[in-house]
Symmetry: C2
Subunit: 349 residues, 2 copies
């Protein structure tokens, strides 16, 4: 097996930095769109054969060093009892957002893993089909990010309702975050038991909180999840924490016990390296918009990150956020190629 990702996550010596990218199984790929044209998004998520197929597409087509299971962070709130709606051409939506104590109480953190067995089945099937070519990454949304979606009902500019709950009904907020955290921990453990080699937790909305509130309402729960998952899985799978926009708290994130910190592009990776030393591996940090340029510019920007990082040990190349649907697959391929060659001459054909 190409185990570069696992060795990088464990800070072991590696001959080059591994590369994968967020949302790599997605709409920028014509081969993905061909399948998506025949199935709804949620059907694809819920059908292990389809999920496995699109999960493996970027391994075949992009030559990335890892697969990430095709799914969505909002399957967890759905498993907790929320009605999740994906309308064509729109983002996902919860028509009945969580605003009241009785709604929080009615959510369940029981039987999460059996309700999400379609994900663990997809992981098992993907592992079979991958035949050890590359590691498989499982994932979940972070409690704060899921909380924000569940309370708002959808994406938001100012997270008015979510913040209202944090600041005016703190006990309710913590009760909801606690329930979500329990569900997330069970879900990640089940993914690892099903065969996920690594798991990533996405805290997409970490950056809308003050540093103090990030610690209280986000990181506190992430630390508990990391500890629980490590204990219950005998530390088998490295954990990646990606708290987008929370660069104010990198030292605190590093002390969570996670193995890898995902970085967006608004920080110089050399400063993070200087701050955190060899305590954690770093993943990122190319601006995804660079993929709208040319292979030459992509290579230049990738090399600049490698130069700042200093060496491949403890580095996993990735974008600073998900790839966008309009990117030319040739440019995504150029990113992978550049990342593989960034720390010196090519190690593979």
């Amino acid at each position: 097996m190409n185990d570069l990702l696992l060795r990088a996550a464990r800070m072991e010596p590696i001959e080059r930095a591994p590369v994968w990218f967020m949302r790599q199984a997605g709409r920028y790929l014509p081969e993905y769109r061909a399948i998506r044209a025949q199935h709804s998004f949620l059907d694809m998520v819920r059908t292990p054969e389809l999920a496995a197929e699109v999960t493996i597409q970027p391994v075949d087509l992009m030559d990335v060093d890892a697969a990430i299971i095709f799914s969505d962070i909002l399957v967890v709130p759905e498993a907790m009892g929320m009605n999740l709606v994906f309308e064509e051409g729109e983002g996902p939506r919860f028509p009945d957002p969580i605003r009241l104590y009785t709604q929080i109480k009615s959510l369940t953190d029981k039987d999460i893993t059996s309700k999400l067995s379609y994900v663990t089945d997809a992981i098992k099937l993907t592992k079979e089909k991958l035949k050890g070519r590359v590691p498989l990454i499982g994932f979940s949304g972070a409690p704060w990010t899921l909380f924000a979606y569940m309370v708002e009902g959808q994406g938001s500019k100012d997270f008015r309702y979510a913040k209202q709950m944090l600041y005016t009904r703190k006990e309710d907020a913590h009760l909801l975050l606690r329930k979500i955290s329990d569900a997330v921990a069970q879900y990640l453990i089940a993914q690892i038991e099903a065969g996920a080699d690594v798991v990533q937790i996405f805290d997409t909305w970490a950056g809308v909180l003050t540093p103090e509130d990030f610690i209280e309402f986000s990181l506190g729960y992430l630390i508990e999840i990391v500890q629980l998952v490590k204990q219950h899985t005998k530390r088998k799978a490295p954990i990646i924490l990606f708290c987008k926009g929370a660069n104010h708290s990198l030292s605190e994130i590093a002390m969570s016990g996670c193995d890898v910190i995902g970085l967006d592009w608004t920080i110089d990776i050399s400063e993070v390296k200087a701050l955190l030393g060899d305590s954690v591996a770093l993943q990122g940090n190319l601006d995804p918009s660079i993929l709208y340029t040319t292979p030459e510019v992509i290579e230049e920007k990738v090399r600049a990150i490698a130069k700042r990082m200093g060496g491949p040990q403890g580095h996993i190349f990735n974008l600073g956020h998900g790839i966008t649907p309009d990117v030319d697959p040739e440019n995504a391929r150029a990113f992978v190629r550049a990342a593989k060659n960034a720390y010196g001459r090519a190690e593979q054909a």
Copy 2:
């Protein structure tokens, strides 16, 4: 005159921190909406009597320590030759975004101040009507933020076209940024000559750039503008730089020669104070979403900022971004009251 804002900006002793807030003349006020119901947004911007009237509303209604001239950052690209459209219920838009070299060449940085005389007239009229009650703040968009709007044609999630120009046609990008900067400098000088006591430069989109690109494509031009404005106005008016999301570069921003740095809410103000000492005053840094809570929570959060800041000297209370239209004016008033009392007992009724 209540000159607290001017003394705070100059790091002079003050008995309490002054307070104003971004977009304080705006839609959250029923008195603003009453005027807006009878005039288009652009008519209000272009008619000095109307602009002066809504500029003064929050001084009367909210008891803030400064007025900020009612206008829009996009008047500068319009004065440079772009067609600006505000459609009801939508954001502002440039139907012909700048993508080609010939379009950049056709933009002008000549006669900006005569084309924007409606703004300087509004400033003169407002100064007359204010009769010295509080200082008047003039403002402009920063070159990078204006560039982003001009190239995208509107707001954007990923700033694809703006970044494409930065990274694949760097000379064109710098040519455009240079023209915008010349226009912005002239505009700010004219505002100060017309009577603006302070000016603020809004770099709303600073945070979408990497730290390195922020220095090259944003801060470099801001430094030139600060120097030019200071020279041409005999250092009369303090300058506030608000580079939203650029907390990675606060030391560099402080060295620009600006008097005040505007802070969003994603950084602990005590850390900024420790980093920058007494070299610049600090403005901010309350999360605007706090205004969706209650007067009690608002007071608690305002006091927490004051505690971190340590004392009123060099502090101007403000939100970390503009006030949102759905805020209850009572809560905005609670913010002003809390800010005035934050550093000890009330200094006024």
